[in-house]
Amino acid sequence: MSDAFEFRLERMFADSPAMPDADLFTLEVMGRLDRGWTARRLVIGGMGAIGGLVGATQIVGSGALGQLHALSSQGNAYLAEQLSQVVPAGLSHGGIGLDVQTLWMIGALAIVAAGFGLVRLVREI
């Protein structure tokens, strides 16, 4: 229940004069907003770097690299065998330098490129 005085009071509250320093206030708010975003980016970047460092230390310490190397060698041998059946000998051995490591690299780059493409596609949609 509201009476006429209460409606009048609401109108009086709504009627507030423009402050002369409104532009300065806006600049201060936007400055704080920008500082907040910069700080957030720095914190996220720093946390990511620390996390990456810790992860790399753990991987090196656990001997996973040695296991990965062994797996990779087996994979390389298998891939080289398969490759020799489909690619002419001149190409795979010295022709254009297309060895197994290069193929792994190309595969990885293709995955990264596909990831970028997917992200771009999602943004466009």
Binding site: D3, L9, A22, M30, D34
Partner: protein, 191 residues
């Protein structure tokens, strides 16, 4: 990002939509348009100039963070005012140390005396609010300035609903006596 001219002429809801995509310029225009009203409300609640500006800045930053929650059911200004009023109440409660619960009525006697002495004189809202006790002022401002219901004000203040209602009633009575009625104004009840 929208250009300066289109931002200046855009409706609040368009600016909110742009702000939700991270457009700083659009949000800056919203701040420019509504900051005076938000700062004014906080001063009317009893905040000094520096505190009002500080809380208003916090309110706009919070509004930017939560802007996707604003569905446009009401005016953007009313939404930010509610955020600002709640933020100020939090700070006020810390500083007032539960003044609401002790229910002290400092300033009430002088307000009563001056209200009786000058009921016929029309004075502006700011001067009239200054004669209320701090809890009355905050409660009245929350309900009539920020548009909170009594229950919402009680929740924001973490105070019993009855206490808030009594502060609002006492504050209204004083303001009614202090602010001379407008021509043709009667005490008609509306739902």
């Amino acid at each position: 990002m929208a250009d300066r001219q289109s931002v200046a002429s855009a409706h609040d809801l368009e600016l909110v939509a742009l702000g939700a995509t991270g457009d700083r310029r659009a949000f800056g225009e919203l701040v420019r348009r509504h900051s005076s009203a938000v700062r004014g409300l906080l001063r009317r609640m009893g905040a000094d100039g520096a505190t009002a500006d500080d809380v208003a800045q916090d309110a706009f930053l919070a509004a930017f963070e939560q802007i996707s929650d604003f569905r446009g059911q009401g005016a953007f200004q009313a939404w930010v005012k509610r955020i600002a009023a709640r933020l100020y109440v939090k700070r006020w409660r810390r500083e007032a140390r539960d003044a609401l619960l002790t229910d002290t009525d400092e300033g009430a006697m002088s307000a009563q005396a001056s209200a009786e002495g000058g009921a016929a004189t029309r004075i502006d809202l700011d001067a009239a609010l200054a004669t209320l006790s701090a809890p009355e002022r905050v409660c009245v401002s929350l309900c009539y300035g920020a548009g909170l219901s009594h229950a919402e004000a009680a929740a924001a203040l973490n105070a019993p609903l009855g206490t808030v209602k009594s502060h609002v009633k006492r504050g209204l009575d004083k303001l009614r006596a202090r602010l001379a009625p407008e021509p043709g104004e009667r005490r008609e009840a509306h739902v």
